[in-house]
Amino acid sequence: MSNFMAQWVYSPTVKDHFMNPRNTWDEKENFVPDGIGDVGSLACGDQMRVMIQVEDGRIKAIRWLTYGCASAIASTSMLSEMAIGLTLEDAYHLSPEVITDALGGLPEHKFHCSVLGDKGLRAAIDDYLEKNGLSNPYRNAVAKIVCECHNITDVQIEDLVKTKQVTTLEELQKLTGYGSTCGKCKADIAGLFDELTHIYNV
């Protein structure tokens, strides 16, 4: 009957953050956020809200809510600890890999959960900058060209998905013309599109 011999499903750090999540939002706290980011999709079982307070260009405080599995809870908790005190630029560059490493690793198929955490934080920073009429130099800085022939970035595609200007891969192809020259990027963009539709619940 004992399962003491076997390791837990996830790393000890994940277990710790799952059992004692840091910086979760609590109604009683009256936390007033400067920026809010909502990402995720019920279809894939993860939905997340990240709220930040910003002071002197740095993340002063962070609160979050998540509907999701143990690794989603742990990765958001870890992200929240790592983000505090960072400049907005550094916070914007917190990558899923960094969060996953800090957690002592996650199973391959769980990786998208921590991808969600960094997207949530970016969305909250975008929201903060927009609300305060500030320019957003980070967004394009993290952009990666995904279709070289047509000079299309992942951020451009993300914007189109997020604002629901495109809802299918065909529409995206028509609008941007990606993949129509050398065609090398087709599989990668299809994968990216699939991930983004999950994240933004399209």
Partner: protein, 384 residues
């Protein structure tokens, strides 16, 4: 910490009498196919086990083909009818349902990819087969109808007797994967008129890796594993003496205790269901509350995700399972719940509690103490 194992539909602990009989059987080293004394000893005990399994499911002894489990039994049935189609049978279509075990769902997908015609009959929102749709699907080209007896996730019991009547009237043979029903409710192959039935020992306190396919007299049979005359030429391979003897013991116990167990399991299940509804707001009980396996309770907790519930319960020593995608390694939650009309978020937040003979009402009390704060906590943390 208390340990409460509520995952008996996944597998059951081995009964102590089964362990004792298997320990004893380890000394029976003879190959059951040998003519000498050692071989005959092994063979004798195997045939005893065959009788016990046959008695348990109301079938003649000769109908039992021992297999490595229900997955092999299920695959064998579909292989028989695939082969008959290959041989030119005019009956070249099969029917099953959308909520079968993966050993049928994935077998069907594999066969369909290769051009075989197999229809998936839908179920209603309690998981019961749509008999009206089945009726429309039945025609003179149908060779096989395969419908599970009781569902492993939501526990819904199918009207097998009616299905057999309808299918036989159309001239089709009928198979039922009864893996989850054995030892929990009455299953009589002869009374129901079933042509094939699959079962697995580890679901009724027997060992893993052994099961049976029961084949009614006159029903078509084509071997799937070739290479020996074991199982009357129906399944080659040296008999797994120890496991088969263990299954025989488990079958005797299951037959002896079934009626009392059925009542006891249902009582605990209902105690848990009522307790959850009393203590936790906004809960959806999945499946069919009238036609349900006695020990199965599947519940969805909106705004709480299944894997998180499962792992928080595990930290309290309570072992359950979930239909959430997060626990499955894919992005899709349970197809059983989705095809039973359960909303996708509710499927992600589903927990299956499955009782067995070693559970007590104290276990239910313990779960009712530990579960409500876990749901409350996850809901407070939820972004929905």
């Amino acid at each position: 910490m208390r340990f409460v194992y509520l995952d008996n539909n996944a597998t059951t602990p081995i009964h102590e009498d089964v362990i004792a009989s298997m320990n004893e059987a380890l000394a029976l080293y003879g190959n059951a196919s040998s003519m000498h004394g050692s071989g005959r000893d092994a063979s004798f005990r195997i045939e005893e086990a065959r009788s016990a399994v046959a008695d348990l499911i109301g079938a003649p002894r000769g109908s039992i083909v021992f297999t490595s489990g229900a997955s092999e039994a299920n695959n064998t049935v579909f292989n028989i009818f695939r082969d008959r189609i290959d041989q030119g049978s005019k009956r070249n279509r099969m029917i099953t349902t959308t909520i079968e075990h993966p050993s049928i769902i994935e077998k069907v997908a594999y066969l369909r990819d290769r051009g075989y015609r197999i229809d998936l009959c839908p179920v209603d929102n309690t998981g019961r087969i749509r008999l009206d749709v089945l009726k429309g699907l039945l025609d003179e080209d149908v060779a096989l109808v395969s419908v599970m007896f009781g569902n492993n996730e939501i526990g819904t019991i199918q009207p097998i007797g009616t299905i057999v009547e309808m299918a036989h009237e159309a001239g089709a043979h009928v198979h039922s994967d009864a893996t989850q029903a054995i030892g929990k409710i009455e299953v009589s192959m002869e009374e129901l008129g079933l042509d094939y039935l699959s079962l697995s020992a580890h679901k009724f306190y027997g060992p893993k890796g052994v099961g049976a396919l029961a084949v009614a007299k006159g029903a078509p049979y084509i071997p799937y594993i070739h290479g020996g005359r074991q199982e009357a030429g129906r399944r080659a391979g040296t008999s797994n003496t120890v496991a088969i003897i263990g299954m025989g013991t488990a079958a005797k116990i299951a037959k002896r205790d079934r009626e009392d167990e059925e009542k006891r399991l249902w009582r605990m299940r209902e105690m848990l269901r009522e307790g959850i509804l009393e203590r936790i707001p906004n809960v959806v009980v999945n499946g069919n509350q009238e036609h349900c396996l006695p020990g199965t309770l599947d519940v969805s907790f909106p705004h709480a995700e299944g894997e998180s519930i499962l792992l928080y319960l595990d930290l309290e020593g309570i072992q359950v399972s979930t239909g959430s995608a997060c626990a499955s390694g894919s992005l899709e939650p349970s197809y059983v719940l989705l095809s039973s009309g359960v909303d996708i978020e509710l499927a992600h937040g589903s927990i299956r509690f499955s009782f067995g003979r070693y559970n007590t009402e104290d276990d239910v009390t313990y779960v009712l103490e530990k579960l409500p704060p876990i749901i409350k906590r996850l809901r407070e943390m939820s972004a929905i």
